[in-house]
Structures are given as C-alpha cells and as structure tokens.
Symmetry: D3
Subunit: 265 residues, 6 copies
C-alpha cells in the first residue's frame, strides 16, 4: 500500500504543513496540490464541497505526492466510510466531545476487528494498491476535532480511545464555546492555555496534535508550542486576501483587515 | 448583515408569499426568483436536489431580492449547518414530532450559547455580510414541520422551544397519519380543525405559521385563517399543469384533473 | 431500429405537437416527456444547455415514447454529429440561408454515400438498436431553420437540397430581419405572407413545414395554414407564465402581458 | 403503478439475475441496462455515486425494462426516502444487525400506517404512475443486508420484521467479522454454513434471499443453494477484468488473478 | 435594461479595474465578485471553463454589481451568441487579426440590422430586463483581442470596424509572434512601442484599449500609458502566488519567482 | 517538462498499446489508467464526453504514468487548443482529408513560429512543468485521422505536412467511404491494401502509424504489419462484451456476436 506521507513526516519528527481546500473545484485542488503542501484537506464541513466534488478533488490531489485528507461534515459513519473508499488517507471529524463519540468515529475508520468499516475500497484500492485491505487500518489517519470546552474537559477520555491517531483543534468554534468571538490566531491567555493543554495531553497519550491557523506567524508559533500538524488558512481565504490586496493597490487605498467571521475554512 | 425579507414582511404584519423549487437547476431557480416571490424554498427533501445543486440554486436566487430558504431532507445537523453555511436565510426541517427533535433542530441553526452550530459561514458571509456571525442567530429562520398527528398532539411543547421562529404544515403527510389520502387543499373538517389548531397555538406561542397549498384559492383561505406564510405549488407542478393544459388545448380535449400523488413539492 | 414517431405521425398525415426544453435539467426534460408531447426539442442554441446536459436530457426523454430532437447551436458538423451519436432522432439547424449551408447541414446528418457523418453511434445504437447504421439515414430527421429574409428568398434552392426532411420557421429572428420587433405569433400581413410562402414551397418540394409559436391559438392557426409540426412555447416560458399568474392571483393584481423579448425558446 | 419486475420473476419462482452499477455515469448505467439484467443496483455505499448521480443513473435505467434498485450508504431515513422519491423500486440497506435496525429501515420504505415514509414521490410518480402512493407499499422492495456475525445470530428477529421483503448477503464484510480475509466466492465451510443458514431462515420467514458473488459459477451455485437473487460482480470489476485481460494478451503475459480487496462492489 | 458598469465608468473617464476567472467554480467566481472588481471576465479560452460552468459563474457574478464579461474560446458565432444569451455584458474575442475577422466577431454580438445575432436572450433578459432586445446593441461590449504582429499591422482596419467597442491586448501571445518569450509585464522597447501604438490608434478610432497584466505596478503603468481597462492576473495565479508565499514562509525559504509560462490567464 | 511516454516508447522502437475512454466518468478513466495502458485517449468525438468531463478524465489519468491523449470532435482550433491547455499530451484529429486541413490541425497544436496555438497552458503547465512553453512543440503529439478514401488518395501531401507526428486510421469510417459496411477488424483485401499503403507511406515520411482495432488478435496483426500505435476496443465495448458474456453464462445461452454498429469508440 502506498505510504501515508503524513505518517512518514511524523516518523521523522517533522511537523506537517497542511493546506486546505474549500473551493469546489478539482482544478483548484490540483493547483493547491502542485504548490507542495505535505497534505491537503478537502473540507466537506464548511467548504462548499459534497461527495461527488470531493472525489474529483481527491483525484486531482492524487496527481501529486501530497497526502489526501478529508474533513467530513459530521460524525456520520456513512460519510466517513465513503470518504475513505474514495481514497482519503485520513479523516478529520468535527465536534468530537466525548469518548463515545470518539469511538463511533474511530470505529468507522477501521475494518474489523478494530472497527466496523464496511469493505469496498473502490477508488481507495486504485490509489493505495491491491494490499489496501490488509494495511488500511495502520495507514489511514483518524483525527478528532477538539473544538468545544466540553471536549477540552474530556481530553483524557477522548485521547485514550484506541486507534485515535491525532486531534485537530478548531480555534474558532472553541472560542465561541469559551464565550469569545470567533476567529483565528487568538492570543487570549485562556485560549493559549487550552492549546497548551491539548499539546500536553496529546504527548501523554502518544496522539498527534493538529491546529487550524490564520497566518504563517501563528502557525509557526503553534509548531513551537508542540503541534505536529498545522494549517495556514484555506484556498478561499488565500485568494480573498490576495485579490483584495491587488484591488487596494490598484485603488491606492490603505490596507484594511479582511473580514473574518471565523471558522475553520 | 443583509436583512431577512421574511422577517421584514412579518414585522409589517404581511403574509409571505413563498415559491418552491424542486427542479434541480440553478437556471430554473433564477427564473423563479425573477418572478417576484417574497421567498423561495429550495427543497432538498422531496425535490430532486442535493447539496451541490442547492448551492447553485441559492446563488441564482441571490441575484434577486427574494429571500433564500432551504428545506433539508431530515433533522440532521450536518445538512442543516451546510445549508446555512451555503447562505440559506431559513431552514424548514421535516418531521419534527417532539420537543427533543425540535431542540435538536433549532440548536443546529444557532451559534453558541444558543445552540451548537459550527462556525464557518463560507458562502453565508459573502451573501449576508462580514458581520454574519454576530447577527446570524437573530436573522436566520428556523421552521419546524408539523406533519403528523403526533406533532399536532405535541404542539405546545414543540412551539415553546426557545429559538423556534415558525412552523410549516405539510398537509399531505399530516393527511396520511390522520388516515386520509395524501394531497393538498383538504377540506375535511378534521383537517381544517387541525390547521386552525396550529394557527391558534402559534399565536399563543408567538411563533409564525406556514402551510403548503395546491392553489391560490386555498392559499388565500389559509391566509384568511391566520397563516403568515403560504406556498402555492412548486415549480414542477406549475410546469406540469401548464404543459398539460397546452397539450389538451392542442388536442381539443376537455380539462382533466392532474395526477396528484400528494406531498409537499 | 426504433421507429421515429415524428415520421410515423407524418405518414398518417397528422400534425406533430412538439414540446421545447431549454431549462438545463434532465429531470425537467423527463417531466416534459411524461406530459405526452409527440416530440421534444432539446434546445442547445438559446436554451441554457450544452452537450453533457443534452445527453442527460435525451436519456430522460428516452424513458417515454416521445421522439427526442435537438436544436444545435449552429451549423457545425461537430455539434450535429455529437447530437446524433447521443441519440437525437432529428436535428434542427439554425440560420440556414443558402443551398451551400443546407448541404453542409444535411451532409453532417447522413452517413456516406449520402453525407459525411462519421460512424460511432455510441448512445444512438443503444436507443435506436443494433441496426442503427443501416437505417439511420432514413430514420433521422434534418430540419433547416428558415429565419431570415435571405432564407425566404432562397427557399427553392434550400428546399430542393437532397435529404432535407423539413424546415422550421423561427418567427422572431425572421421578424428582425424583416424590420419588425422580435416576438412570437405575429399577425402582420408581411409575416403571414412569408409563412404561407414557406408552407406552399414545402408542399412543392415534398418537405415538411414546422414553426415555433407562442400560444395554442396561434399554433392551431398554423396547423390550419398547413404546417406539419408546431411548437407551443418552451418549458421556461410555460413556467414563467404559470408562476407569474399564481403570484398575480395571490396579490390580486390584474393580469399583465409577460415580458417577451422574443426568440425561439 | 408500473409493476416491479423483481416481484414478477419471484412470483414465477425464477431467480433474479441482478447487475451492479458503481461507476458514476448515467451513460454507463444505460449501457448496463441495455445488456438485459433483470434488475440493476445503483450502489451509493461503495460505488462512487451520490444522490444527483444516482438520479441520472435511475433515469438511464428507466429507458429499459430493467428494475431500478438502490443500495443506500447507510440505514438513514433521509437517504432511503430520497432514493425512493427518485424512483428506486427497491432499497438495499447495509449493516442491518438487529430487529430495531431492521424496523427503522423498513419503516422508512413504507407510508403510514405501515411506516413513516414522507409523501412526495416527485420522480417516482413519473416512473411508477399516478397511483404511486396507493400501491407503493406493496410494490417497493426492502432488502436488509446480512453481513456480520451479529446479523447471522439475530436472523430470526430480523427476518420476522413486518414488511421486510428480502435480505442481501455481503460475503466480504461477513468474512471479515468471521475472522476471514475479505473477498467473494468463499468456500470455507463456516461461510457456506452461514449462507445455508440464511437461505433456510429466509424460507421459514417467507423472505427472499439475495447474495453478492464474484463469478457466474459461484452465482449459479448460490442459486442452486436456494438464493432468489444474485449479483455477479459490478461494472467496475467487469471492466477491470476485461481490460486487464486485453492488456495481458497484447503483452503476451500469462493470466494473473485480479487484485481483489473484497467488498460488495 | 440594466446599465453596463464598464460603459458607466468609461463615461466618467475612469479606467476599469477588471478581475479574471479561470478556475471552474461558481463559488470561486462569487468570491471574486464580492472583492469589488469593476468587471470580471469568465475565461472560456485558457480558463478551465466551458459553457455550463460559465453560466453558473455568470449567475454568481450577478449576485453583485460587478459587470459580467466573457472571453470566448475562439471567433465562433455559436459560442459568442451563447455567452451573450447567458447574460454576458461583453465578449472578448481571441485572435482578431483582420477586418474580416473583426466583422464576423462584431456581427455575432449585434442583432439585425447591425449584425446577425439570433434572438433568444433566455438568461440575458432575466439579468438585463424585459427591454433587453431593444437596448442590447448599445449596451453589450465587443472587445477584439490584439495579440499578434499581424493584428498590430492591421490595427486601423480592425479598429474602424463599425460597432467595435474596445480591444484587449494579450501581451503573451503578442510576445511570441514578435519572437520574444511568452509572459506578462514585458518591458522590451519593441513591446512597449506596440502597446503605445495600440493606445494611440484606439484614441484615433474612438475605441477603448484594454490590456492583460501580471502585477499592479505594471497595470498602473498601463493606465498611465492610456489604457482604459486593465486586468491584474487571474484567480489561479493570485491563489498560486499566495499559496506558494505561505509555504515558503512556513519552510523559511527565500522568495523565488513563480513559474510563469505566460498566456492571458 | 514531463516526458511523453508515447515518444519514449517509439524512441525504443516499441509499439504503443493504447486504451480508449468514451464513458463520461473521471473514475472510469482512472480505473482504465490503473490497468497499465501505455497511453489513453479521451474520446471527445464519438465518446459521450465534452470539455469539462474531459478535464476530469485527464486529471484521473494523470494519477498514473499513462500518457493522456485526446481525440477532439472536429478539426477546430478552439477545441484542439483547449484540449492541449487542459494537459493532453497528444491530439487525434478526425477527418483530415487534405494538406490544408492537416496544416490547420497541426498549426493549432504548435506555438509560433511553428503554428498559431495561443499561449495559456493553465493545467498543462501543472502537469507538464514550468518549462512547458519552451518544450511543448517538441513534446506534444499531433495525430491526423485517415478515415476516408479521399485521405488515402492524398496520403503523401498529408504526411509531408511539417510537424505532423502520426496518423490514426479509423477503419470503420474508411470502410463506409469504400462502400463497405462499418465495423472493426476488416479483412477485405481492399482494406488490408489500404492499411499497408498507410504504413508504407508513413515509413517514407517518417511519420508514425496508428490504428483502431476491435480485438487483440487484429491489433497484434496490425503491429505485425508495421503499425506503431494500436487501440483495442474502448471502455464501453469492453464492458458491454464482458457484461453480455456474464449474462449469457447465467442464462446458459450460447455465445452470440455482440451488436457492433462500428465506429472508432
């Protein structure tokens, strides 16, 4: 089975620089993949992406060495299994707030006896290879999103779920449940404390820690804090910022902060 | 944030004349939007519409002042949140039969602390504006469908759910559970009694009342009964009736009643 | 090979009542096909339809006995042949103004030695049957559009083109080139004279005459004048008129004429 | 309502030879339908197929006499009802392991009072006919998948669910939960014993038995064992085997077994 | 008819700041439109865009005040007319090298008696309004591309074509035919001389001058030279540059020039 | 620039074993690509494939080492250039019957000064690499189809066109113009004589010879005759034959010849 580049980098103790695709276009995903991100997440939750579009985007990413990951819309076995059968090498699952939710999620990612994933890797076996079934359980990555205060409270029980590979912090949703406004790159002490708590708990449980950010500066700070996997904005934000900057220059206006209603996208 | 035209009309105590889109085509939705309906529902339940098509239809509706609403296929947070992130200004949720179901539905429409909607309004913030997060909870409409005898029995507990804006009666499904044949524009006393019961309960709970109908005559009757929001057929029925009428005229046949297997579509 | 219903009706000297599909949706085409039109034209010229959509619409029409026809965007062999390979049982070609243009068009519809159509009826042989190649030349219909004063002037040379089955008058474009405003159902004497001229010339050349209309009354008048094939509006207009009528009734306004910028759609 | 060809064959005590569509293409489904399978399953679970694609594939199948069936991705009422409204004449539901799961599934397939299916057969009434609502409950087929050891243990309670028409055995998933490698056409005694157990229990409960196979030889053996409905591979496997065979012949290599990671697809 | 924002700006003697869409995605076009470009070109030539995608992108642009323009793939009346019927408020036509080619192009953009455009503005009349036919000839913009040395040689005969509104210089193709490497923002004296020659000739013929550029600095320089319409990169390049920049920062590498094989995209 | 595998094989004097994709599905193309064909042609002429579908299919093929080729629908520069910009590494052009037609075709495949291809390799530069413009003229393959008696008569003038790399014989269309029935694998002496004539003329002009066949036996015979590039059936035929064979086995019928109306698909 084709190796999972994310696991390879982690094996070398290197942080993964992840890109993010929310624009519904296989060509746009291919453009992103050719930039050289270590991995790319096709975002089926907040991205404008559904199943058929996701498949095309995974095909486009598969033209490169970038590892293809998918964020599913919800903790739903049907969607998780369809993403995996389509060739995702890892799944990020939103709103995992308890051990039961985490088990439901991880189980959907694993064939028996480790889980209850149904067998039928139609595109996955093309991408991964003919020994897909045999090696999928150890190759595919399961990321649980930590994005509520409830999840932070339940970190230990979540992180000790057998088969969980990593968590992914959604700072915007976490902010809301902490009573803060949504958005990225938060520096409130309470938020930073939560981020450190996640990293520390991940270390204890031998689980990798990932986080969504809104700038390269903050992403580097997060790597410094111990995160193993960071995302810097997504395609839509990158394009919006670049286009607005070009327009401002043409109209000779002073730079203004981009409108950022928050969220991991 | 762009105002919600449905709320504006209700603030003026005017009934909303709603159109209905079940044909899977952004062009057809744009054609409907240019007719001048106050609002248009993209029907993901019985319409031939899934997520990616729904997004195109919302874009088409957004070329006009018509308010874009979505009926989701089921009481499923993933679908509700994706419809909202795509720019729906209201969600109609099928088969809400109890307080628990209503809370699950309304919670998915609201950001914390009022609910558990995840933040990431990718298209919604384009349509609504940069202050989307701040004002979404008070702008977006949540409609629970009342379409079973069980729901009618549980009206008070459903209508008192915090954050519920309106109900939408599906007369065809309600008929079936009452032991009547499916269809629109029912005049059986038991059905009329149920419709009046809904209107009366809505008034008590300060919740708006909506209903699906099959003719302008019945829709006007429903407005007279106190309904605040009425739909007259959908695009597929309007076209089927118009085309069959043209064919009959060409073939000089007498008018015959259209085949109507019922349902809100 | 499956028979062409249009030819069958003509063999019985019955006028063909044709429907028109410009809304890009296979479901909408299927809805139209189930109404019972003798034939349906998928309009790739002014309809919002391209090749891939047209294929889906032909598949939808093929679920019924209605004969599937296509109006191509232009007199272009690539598009004509692709429409035929996709299973169109007739092609309407816009703007045929001379004998040379008509020969180019008809040749694209026929296999050698009658024309230069390339062999490869991928879907056509599924729809038509395994003897498709053998019988296609005598089954498929070629309709040349007469829609300029130049075409009317050149009627005899156009109509005498070997292999031409029928003409289709586009009254809106013909009006423009006559110096009249665009639109359907014209009653100016000059227009009626041209329509009669077409019918008369068709009779002399044993070619069938078709025409686009905007009402059943005018379509019946055209049949009375001798036309063998009439279209009454298209799906988009039927829906627009029906929807606007419903809205007017809901708002108690008096009926107003629909905005009709003309054109065959 | 149009008859269900699967029921007709069963009424004549003839086994149903079923085809399987996992390639996301309405044209490919039409090609399959013209081969003459008794029924065709559009596979939304392991096939690369979502809702909008499934609708196009059902339309394509509806151009022939082949009965259109759908395997849904999961036991989810939204997906089951949408497949039925789109015109599926039967639904195969994965991973039905208990009586409660079976009741949830069968209820979604039936209108009240037999179930809780919502009324709105938009395409189904085009395909089935105007009396769709009246006859749907007795025409539509509900197949529960038996594909875990737990389901085999619970056979009697599953098979006695009112309204269940048939089961469908997924040998690959069943193998995994039995501790065997995935794949088709298993001859291990434990597997054959389970298959016989299913057939025998089906006979007792007057429920039909279906099974997925990987060759015509095994499919015939299953019919001999008493199965009423067999699938021989799917479109993707048929094509992969045929293409690999052609390539081997061109390269003069000896035949090698195809890579088969298993699964019902 | 809705006014053409490009004409309005030109009437105020203000240069038009144009954006460029080559990523095949209506959402991406909507994102671009919300940035505030005066106009946006949907690029059907080098963009990954065909007709059906272009329609969705025009719908998305129509949700804002940005003027929707289309570059067609070639000087082909079928494609030009379909773009206009779909609601383009201007067409950019590649490779116009002679008077005859320019007349063929401009004629396809105008209704008789000014040209030979066929009437049927299906979406255009929704977007433009019910008086579309009456005012289209004076509202729609025709841009001929000047992108070969032959076209520069024939400038006067091209620019004097009745009805031509503007030219659009493609510096990359022009470079190639001048014997230079492809690319944007050329400063070779021969290229600058050609650009000045275009501006000067446009002034004499009362035709507007547009140009494709690769940076805001060069675009401003072109406005200073007298160009009335400038494009700064396209969506794909903006995104590629922004993403590569983010990756470089994450990997702490020094900035490197982006790979630019040239072309107007 | 990424090497062209077809050229590499030819440089080693090895015949190219080509596959053929006419089913409109990126997944189906990916399935074909993983079989290991040296090259794959996406057939936009007789395949059910248009531009947007072709792009997805090229992306799918690009996940493997198979060289991506495209047959365009017609000798039309717009379509040829769009196929190349989308990443085709070779174009097969139908119905090239004269030197002028061949020059028009080859010119569309080459940048100046060798031709008139417009610069803008949006996806091509992702697939080929940043030096695409510099090396495209020597990497991209131009195949002219020889498929009429007229083309055979004009072989020398066609084959001597500067820049032509190869011809591709379409035996079915050639048969028709020779007065034979359409179909593959013809053994009539006149046809074999024409095939030998093509091979011999290609050798003289240092142009490669390709041919479409319907079986591995005939393909090997053609290689023996000197052809450098052979296709064995296409995806649709492979699947149709395999499915019909499975059905016959299930129904215990004797094998019958498949219906083959001919054509290169």
């Amino acid at each position: 089975m084709r190796a999972n580049r994310v696991r390879e980098l982690w094996a070398k103790r290197r942080p993964v620089i992840n890109g993010w695709c929310g624009i519904p276009s296989a060509f746009c995903a291919e453009l992103m993949a050719h930039m050289g991100w270590d991995s790319l997440v096709v975002d089926m939750q907040h991205g404008i992406v559904d199943y058929q579009m996701m498949v095309g985007m995974l095909q486009a990413i598969s033209t490169t060495e970038t590892a293809p990951l998918v964020r599913v819309p919800w903790n739903d076995p049907a969607q998780i299994m369809k993403a995996l059968d389509a060739g995702a090498y890892g799944v990020i699952c939103p709103m995992v707030n308890s051990r039961a939710e985490c088990e439901r999620f991880v189980g959907a990612c694993r064939y028996a006896p480790l889980g209850y994933r149904s067998s039928g890797p139609m595109r996955a076996a093309l991408y991964g290879g003919p020994d897909y079934h045999e090696k999928a359980n150890e190759t595919i990555l399961a990321f649980a999103m930590i994005e509520t205060v409830e999840a932070v409270r339940n970190l230990d029980e979540i992180l000790s779920t057998p088969g969980l590979d990593a968590v992914y912090v959604g700072p915007s949703d976490l902010s809301i449940t902490m009573g803060l406004p949504p958005g990225q790159d938060k520096t409130e002490p309470a938020m930073l404390a939560n981020l450190e708590k996640v990293v520390e708990a991940c270390r204890r449980h031998h689980v990798k820690a990932g986080v969504h950010t809104g700038s390269t500066a903050y992403a580097k700070r997060m790597i410094g804090m111990g995160f193993d996997f960071t995302t810097v904005l997504g395609d839509a934000r990158l394009l919006a910022i670049a286009g607005q900057q070009a327009l401002r220059e043409m109209r000779a206006e002073a730079p203004a902060p981009a409108a950022t209603p928050g969220g991991t996208y």
